[in-house]
């Protein structure tokens, strides 16, 4: 693992992909490209692992797909957020925010825990 790269946890990848698709229909390669660009290359995810995540979300009705032509005129499968996917993104993002906030609170507390079991 190169220094500074962060592994993506399973559930988190879904959230990131949903976020990526808010910009409009995208094929898999571009989803990853956008994620890497947005995180300045710090995000580490295997390209192949993206697809089961996409297909699973499609099966759950969060995203939908359609074959179309890519920028270089090749047949590519484009994914797009469904209304249900948007809702899911909102819910998950909020949950993520609360999680981050909680972890941050704990970590920024004083050097020693002040509470002890009675």
């Amino acid at each position: 693992m190169a220094a500074g790269e962060i592994d993506v946890m399973q559930g988190t990848l879904d959230l990131l992909v949903l976020k990526a698709l808010t910009g409009g229909p995208m094929h898999g390669y571009n989803v990853l490209a956008w994620l890497r660009e947005t995180t300045d290359g710090a995000l580490r995810v295997e390209d192949a692992a993206l697809y089961p995540a996409l297909h699973r979300m499609e099966s759950r009705g969060l995203i939908e797909s359609e074959w179309g032509l890519s920028e270089n005129n090749r047949r590519a499968k484009f994914y797009q957020l469904t209304p249900r996917g948007s809702e899911e993104l909102g819910r998950e993002a909020e949950g993520w925010g609360r999680y981050v906030e909680m972890v941050g609170k704990v970590l920024s507390a004083g050097p020693e825990p002040t509470w002890r079991p009675a």
């Binding site: 094929h27 390669y29 390209d47 192949a48 697809y51 699973r56 359609e66 270089n72 090749r74 499968k77």
Partner: protein, 893 residues
Amino acid sequence: MSAEPIWRRYKRWWGPDVESDVDEEFEFHIGLIADRLEASGLGREEADRRARVEFGDAARARRMCGEIGKQRLERTRRSERVARWTQDLRYASRALAKRPAFTAAVVATLALGIGANVTIFSLFNAVLLRPLPGVSEPESLVQLGRTQGGDGFDTFSYPDLADYRETSRTLAGVAGSWSTAVHLSTGRETERVDAAVVSGNYFDVLGVRPALGRGYLPEEDEAAAGVRAVVLGYGLWQRWFGGERSVVGATVRLNGEPFTVVGVAPEGFTGTQIHSGVELFAPVSSLDGLSPESTLRQSRDAVWLMLFGRLAPGVGVEEAQRELTGIAQRLEREYPESNEERGIQVVAGVGVHPGIAEAARGFLAILFGVVVVVLLVACANVANLLLARAVERRRELAVRAAHGASRGRLLRQLLMESLLLAAMGGVAAVALAMVAARTLVRLPMLSELPVLQRVPLDWRVLAFAAAVAVISGLVFGLAPALRMSRPDLVSSLKEGTPGSGSTRARARTALLVGQVALSMVALVAAGLFVRTLQNLYGVDSGFDIASVAVASVDVGRQGYDDERGGRFFDELIRNVEALPGVEAAGLGTILPLGHGGWDTRMFADDRPIGPEDEGIKTDQNAVSPGYFRAMGVTLVRGRGISEADRADAPRVVVINQALTDLLWPGEDPIGERLRAGREGEPVEVVGLVADAKYRSLNEESRPFAYYPFQQMYSPSATLHVRASGDPRGVLPLVQAEVRALDADLPIYRAGTLAHWRDRSLGPQRAAASLVGFFGALAFLLAAIGLYGSMSYTVSQRTREIGIRMALGARVAQVAGLVLRDAAAVLVVGIVIGGLAALAVTRLLQGQLFGVQPTDPLTFAAVAAMLLVVGLAASQLPARRASRVDPVTALRSE
């Protein structure tokens, strides 16, 4: 139209080949990586290789995607299937709702056809399928029957019951009962009720839990005598005690003896025979007080108990049969005098004696045969209606086919309509059947079965109705659906060409012929049963049935001794003879055409009796002097029974012609002597009377002997009263005379002799009325079908008829055209049906009397009726055809 969103349908082309889709997607991605690497200076091949490495574990991803895709595909297919079915259903209901008259006609026809079957099935269910009410785990109960020389299914002796009960391992319990009548009295009034004398373990073995109090204790069986305990039936408890719980512990009198009520049987339980309505259960050990035959419990010769048992857990009927046969053989060795040739047969289930079950099955098989005919005719009518509708719908279906509906899809939609119709017909049929069954159980014979007082609508009946409805839906729906879904797009879209009409017409004609043929079979069967009944009513019974009223009393169960009883009967006869409107009155111990008879073996006293001599099996009756006159029995020679034949006078007998012909053929029997049994005391023959029908109207001539009532006293006897007018008029007077002598004495079997004769013909009357009714129903449906079909043909041929009339055809000729078609259908149907009936009615041989299964008169009469009614049904369409106005007819196209 569909529950499925539009976008998902476009997905379908993605669907079927999940894997190649995934591959294509991956290749695209890898290609882009390779493009990037190539742009950074690598050779194409190297870039491609590195791209695959960078992409990662493609095989694993492919597997996972394939898995997800397959699951998704399955889900989609399932929901599409559901969507298609609901769509078909919605389409079908809309199509039916659009034609309410058609739908109503079909549903009504099916309700009759299916309803007839459900009605008969619900009777079958109530009598033979439904477990006996009130018992627990009926599936492990068995009936036991005594065989004699391998035959029969009869009653056992009490010591035999005890032996089977003690020795058997395959049966967890063996119990027995004897059906009798008792005089029950609470002090206020006395009533004769049907009772069962039962072994102590009776309720335990059946698993019948009393509604109140207790059943019997096994030790009450063994008590020497005098267990004065009685369990009341639920109905009796309600009727006599108003359902009062304090009845337990109360004292009632049975045949004059005090008994304590210990319990009440549960509701619906009326003994182990569905045809008996037992209202009271007394233990065997009370027998000494119940009837004079007090040695019954010790004798192996006296066989009087019906036995049944409960299989031990895990034991089958065959295993029990093997063990019990072994026990029977041991008893045969130990008690050769009584038990010689005596065997045992084990039959699963209680409730119906195997002999009665067989008769009931035969009867129901005939009824099912007829109602199946009704259903087939109904289905043919519906198929015909569907075929006629096919013409109207040709265009609609062609359009749908042109829009891409496959033949399978069209077929499914058409069948869905049929099944929907069948389902509606089935629901209506169940409602109809419940009403019909309630009416049917009032018919002769059926009305006497207590078990039919409630015909249950249980899961068996509903499952049967559903099955019949689905099968009918397929029967009447399949052929029209196949025909209608056939892709003949071009000809159908070119509206106006009658096209493909001839095969359709042929199919409809075939259906009509089939209906007529089926009706012919059913009506011939009905005709044979009606003729049988007529013949039976026409039989000379040898008694003057029409003018006689009867009433029975039993003074023995009222506690009279023989002397008091004799005085009572003397006085009763004198008083009744003096009544106005009474021409004669006599006592008899056997009611003719009533409940069987009582036979002994007779020997002539004037010749030696050889060891092989079996004697003549002879029925007998004990009668008072007025009997012959009251019953209109013809005296051929000698004298009848007279006042002089008292108990202390020389013993005499009057015999009939049949017995004379067997014992002294061609001779005068007067003055000869007879013995009843080998060791019987010789009795002088003083009279010869003409033969009569004693047990049933269809019996062969039967040897018979009459003894003087005073010389062969019976504590129970039937008064036979000959009235100068309507015998019903004298009945209340006779009953009043009985009450004047003993206000407490129950009178039973009071009615006219004609009523008892009719009752003895119950099965034949039920057969004639039921087969007749359903046969007529089948034919009514067929006639409606013929009428509908002819009307339809006329409406289709309006143009042709118009042309004929324009060319000068006369009105009569045009009407004749239609009638000729109808006549052709009828004649062919009658011929086919006649041939089929010849084959079928042979099966009825055993049920017929005085008429051959091939009776030409019946066949001819039915054929003539079919022809006349069939032509009458076609008359109306024919007249309509003749009224066609040529100008309008020609202009209409």
